[in-house]
């Protein structure tokens, strides 16, 4: 095996190996889409975040506008405090509602933002005032049973 043939084959091998890596990075994973160039942070407090995790998407009208960066617990208000980052191109009014929603029936949970009508916009470090917690199955059943029980005394 002459040296030039060898080099050719090795070069070919390295090229297709790199191409495979690139394929995995671009087509399989999401290199570009998950990272925004510049972001600003907002906070929101929820009674119950359900199964929300860090890195979960923040969507508005179904479009990903940011990511959850931190989940903490506020020891004063006994509520969950979620910090998330939004791309600087996206601005929301001060009366935006943040809800924890589920994608699909058994899917992952994400933060949904419903824009309000306020003239003033949320700035970096602001807190989203109006929030709706995640729907927890047990509470739903409990609510259903409570409602059912409340109906009967009417007889």
């Amino acid at each position: 095996m002459s040296r030039t043939t060898l080099d050719l084959w090795v070069g070919f091998f390295v090229v297709i190996g790199m191409a495979a890596l690139l394929f995995l990075a671009m087509k399989v994973g999401n290199v570009g889409s998950s990272n925004f160039d510049e972001t600003y942070h907002l906070k929101a407090q929820f009674d119950n975040i359900g199964g929300l995790k860090v890195r979960a998407p923040v969507k508005s009208a179904g479009v990903v506008v940011g990511r959850v960066t931190n989940i903490g617990f506020d020891t004063d208000s006994y509520r969950a405090e979620v910090t998330f980052s939004l791309g600087t191109g996206y601005h929301f009014p001060k009366d935006t509602i943040a809800t924890i929603l589920t994608s699909g029936l058994l899917g992952e949970q994400y933060v949904g933002l419903d824009a309000g009508g306020d003239v003033e916009m949320l700035e970096g470090g602001d807190v989203v005032q109006m929030t709706q917690s995640a729907v927890v199955l047990e509470k739903l059943i409990g609510q259903f049973m409570f409602d059912k029980a409340a109906e009967t005394p009417a007889n």
Binding site: W9, V14, G29, S33
Partner: protein
């Protein structure tokens, strides 16, 4: 009673021997690193070994990757469609491959094909006194023969693992989308949403790099350390394949627990 005692004694001796060997192998690794200068300065030596370890493993890696991907596609679809989630097939195939199957299976195949070949080569050179002859000609066999084979393996491994995963995804697509009829758009879009480059793909690459070091080191060490007889070489080859497999799986556990700690 003495039979049991003997067994325990032999077990203890075996463990001591294994620990001693690991220490010896570590010293060998340090020496190897010290004499790796030639592998860099005379690149053609390393390139030659990349050819013999990497290029010649292409066939088995690519074909195996394809089959594994296709099986993932089949089995995955079979299970997912029971819960109406057959569109998540792309996610299942891609995550299984990039995180685990790609690095691990490719490393196991690499150890069996290239690792055993390297052990055989070095072992035979030792048996026919070629290494001693080289030493007598004032050429360090560690630098000239062993180190290039080590680096050839280390460089080849991540590339082969990436190829394995890529072929697997293709195989999954082939079965899922082309043959079974899962929606192509859902296949790729859900996959892209679920597979994170830094988290899944890069971790897989790191794993394959670590496996590459382990397999290459074991292969050259067993060859260099073997008893210089025909039987000794054959035993060394067996040890290479077995030790590599154990090391890969153990390291996989350690790395996985570091990388994917409680994350989904």
């Amino acid at each position: 009673m003495t039979g049991v005692l003997n067994l325990v004694r032999r077990l203890g001796a075996g463990v001591v021997e294994a620990v001693w060997r690991i220490g010896f192998a570590t010293r060998f690794f340090m020496l190897l690193l010290r004499y790796s200068g030639q592998s860099l300065l005379r690149l053609h030596l390393t390139i030659r070994e990349i050819y013999f370890s990497g290029v010649l493993s292409l066939l088995i890696i690519v074909v195996s990757g394809l089959f594994v991907g296709m099986v993932l596609g089949l089995q995955g679809y079979e299970t997912l469609q029971r819960y109406g989630s057959s569109e998540a097939l792309g996610v299942l195939v891609a995550l299984s491959l990039t995180r685990e199957l790609g690095p691990v299976v490719a490393a196991l195949l690499f150890a069996s094909r290239a690792g055993s070949a390297v052990t055989a080569e070095i072992g035979l050179m030792k048996t026919t006194e070629q290494l001693k002859a080289m030493d007598m000609m004032a050429v360090n066999p560690l630098a000239r023969v062993v180190a290039p084979r080590f680096w050839g393996g280390v460089i080849s491994m991540p590339l082969l693992a990436a190829l394995f995963s890529a072929m697997g995804v293709f195989g999954g697509w082939l079965i899922g989308v082309v043959f079974i009829g899962v929606d192509e758009g859902a296949f790729w879009s859900q996959m892209q949403a679920a597979v994170d480059f830094r988290f899944d793909v890069l971790n897989g690459v790191i794993k394959s790099f670590v496996f590459g070091i382990a397999v290459a080191l074991i292969a050259v060490f067993e060859g260099y350390d073997c008893t210089p007889t025909a039987e000794g070489v054959s035993r060394a080859i067996t040890r290479t394949v077995v030790s590599s497999a154990l090391a890969i799986l153990a390291l996989d556990f350690v790395l996985t627990s570091f990388m994917f700690r409680g994350q989904s």
